[in-house]
């Protein structure tokens, strides 16, 4: 069962997730090393691969606000963690879907570090506390992109369809 590896407050900015001074590093293969770089403990634990695939970052309201830097998504995607947050800022949500980073909107989520969460189709179950919380569906407009596995394969399909017209 996936565990909550960190519980964060409201308004976590992309400066926090991926500090500006590392923005010259752009490739998704290279960005993970700087995830939450100013939270040095958490960053070291991520880099030490302490957390399994599917481990969960729990955020509050407005997670991923601020800069449009896509590194903030690729840096997390690199560890295959999921984000469960009460609400997510527009560009970060869009970038996550585009890159295939798992994000879950869960307005009432209550969880602390170490809790085990089970993410189902429409709910998040905190199996440690026994409480269940409803999800808010991701924007339907973006379903095609999610189904294609991200915006790159989705765009590729559209391009080929256009050529084969």
């Amino acid at each position: 069962m996936p565990k909550v590896i960190i519980k964060l407050e409201n308004d976590i900015s992309t400066d926090d997730i991926y500090p500006g001074r590392y923005m010259a590093t752009v490739l998704p293969s290279e960005t993970p090393q700087f995830a939450f770089a100013d939270r040095t403990d958490f960053n070291s634990r991520l880099r030490a691969k302490e957390f399994g695939v599917g481990s969960i970052i729990v955020g509050g309201e407005n997670f991923g606000c601020g800069s449009s830097r896509e590194q903030a998504c690729s840096t997390l995607k690199g560890y295959d963690v999921a984000v469960v947050a009460k609400s997510i800022a527009r560009i970060f949500l869009q970038n996550s879907i585009n890159l295939g980073l798992q994000v879950v909107l869960c307005p009432e989520i209550e969880a602390t570090e170490g809790d085990e969460l089970q993410i189902t189709e429409d709910r998040v179950l905190n199996t440690t506390t026994g409480k269940a919380f409803n999800q808010v569906k991701l924007p339907a407009a973006r379903k095609g992109i999610m189904d294609a596995g991200g915006l790159i394969p989705y765009t590729r399909k559209l391009l080929l369809a256009r050529v084969q017209g």
Binding site: D15, R21, G66, S68, E70, Q94, G144, L151, R156
Partner: protein
């Protein structure tokens, strides 16, 4: 039911009679802007074409703008190499709206786009920068996207699966008191809305104060609309928009403006009267932590920053120079000035403002983003405090999570530079 200005723009761009909030559309893009993060866009763009047997070809190079501003001149070999690769891509793909590191035509992307007439009322503009909301100041629907989404736009010429945002109408009336202006207004509004109060929505600005406001002021308010979570801020095009594009950007062709229908549907209307507005300040570490300057006056400041896409234009520099002329920056305080573009730099030079700053002890830097996002120069020491006319004060924003950043207008910044403590300019 009538349409808001953004609904009208999206309907046109999607080839539809009408759209309303919540509809999903695929609007043609009129302008697609990137800065140094074009390095990532290029990487993703090439990947889109992999395995397709197609050559990576940009849909319309004339509609792409690339402006270097975030780290100029380059602070590291890595940045310099990214910039070199972008230059090569620009040349190979015939991208003409490219602004390199130059003292004449260089500058911050959000200043260059209006200055060169690249944005027009009614346009759909996307940019790989969250402050792309800025260009709503010219009556365009302009919003930030990520690099992969930009690669998709470069490939297709339209934005896929865009949900038409709902609109909040903001009506501003009254005359600004002395030393109070557009920056105080937008800070006040962000404080009222909170950092996510306009999430997924557009802020459409109206009222007598907005009508009389210069494009520079409108740029400041649309620029910071994203700090309330807004997809975009927009001032429907009007006489001032046309004046600016004709007189300052040299646009010669017709400039049709798109305005909302009188019976457009808004999710909310906010009315603000600025007649009694006081100078405002955003306190660490969120932009919505806004107070009247009076409440934090007296706090010691080690670094003053005047400039950025929010407040680095000629009128901003004039306001600061008027306060600083003949005075000195306080001992123990350093002041950095970043004109928003080469053109503004030259104008401020001609007007004597830069001389005023230098004589006062400020350091005048080249046009660019400077220390705003903590990637380049002007970093803060541990426990230091900066007072800045930029747009974000998140923890670590200026490169050091152990420092504090306050956001304010050029007048507040200049008055505080003289005293070395946060100062209400009305008392200086």
């Amino acid at each position: 039911m009538g349409m808001t200005v953004v609904e009208k723009i999206l309907a046109r761009a999607a080839g539809l009679q009408s759209v309303s909030a919540g509809d999903v559309v695929e609007p043609k893009v009129d302008l697609a802007m990137s800065h140094e993060n074009a390095a990532l866009v290029i990487n993703q763009f090439v990947e889109v074409f992999q395995g397709t047997g197609l050559e990576p070809v940009i849909w319309d190079p004339a509609r792409i703008a690339i402006i270097f501003d975030h780290r100029i001149p380059a602070e590291s070999p890595k940045t310099a190499t990214n910039q070199k690769k972008i230059r090569e891509f620009v040349a190979a793909n015939g991208i003409t709206k490219f602004h390199d590191i130059r003292g004449d035509v260089g500058g911050i992307c959000h200043q260059i786009l209006p200055e060169y007439g690249y944005v027009r009322p009614g346009y759909v503009v996307v940019g790989t920068d969250s402050h792309t909301t800025t260009h709503g100041a010219l009556g365009a629907f302009s919003f930030g996207i990520g690099a992969t989404e930009m690669a998709s736009v470069w490939s297709l010429g339209y934005a896929v699966n865009i949900e038409v945002p709902a609109t909040i109408k903001v009506v501003v009336n009254g005359e600004f008191p002395p030393f109070v202006g557009p920056k105080d207004l937008i800070l006040k509004l962000i404080g009222m809305l909170t950092a996510q109060g306009a999430n997924y929505k557009v802020l459409e600005f109206h009222g007598e104060t907005i009508r009389k406001m210069s494009t520079s002021g409108r740029i400041a308010i649309c620029n910071m609309s994203v700090e309330a979570g807004a997809t975009s801020g927009i001032v429907p095009g009007d006489e001032e928009t046309v004046r600016y594009l004709r007189d300052e950007s040299g646009v010669e062709e017709a400039i049709p403006c798109v305005v909302p229908d009188p019976d457009a549907a808004y999710v909310r209307t906010i009315e603000i009267n600025v007649s009694n507005l006081e100078p405002q300040i955003a306190c660490p570490h969120t932009v919505d932590n806004v107070k009247p300057v009076q409440e934090v006056a007296g706090r010691k400041v080690q670094q003053i920053v005047i400039g950025s896409c929010t407040n680095g234009r000629l009128d901003d520099l004039a306001a600061a120079a008027d306060i600083l002329r003949g005075k000195k920056v306080a001992e123990g305080t350093r002041m950095l000035v970043f004109p928003a573009s080469g053109k503004i730099f030259a104008q401020a030079l001609d007007k004597g403002y830069l001389h005023d700053f230098m004589k006062a002890g400020a350091v005048v830097m080249n046009s660019g983003c400077g220390p705003c996002l903590g990637v380049h120069e002007g970093a803060l020491g541990d426990d230091e405090t900066a007072l800045s006319t930029t747009n974000r004060n998140f923890k670590g924003r200026m490169g050091n999570p152990k420092s504090q950043v306050f956001l304010c207008s050029p007048s507040v910044a200049a008055a505080s530079a003289i005293t070395g403590v946060i100062t209400d300019p009305r008392n200086s």
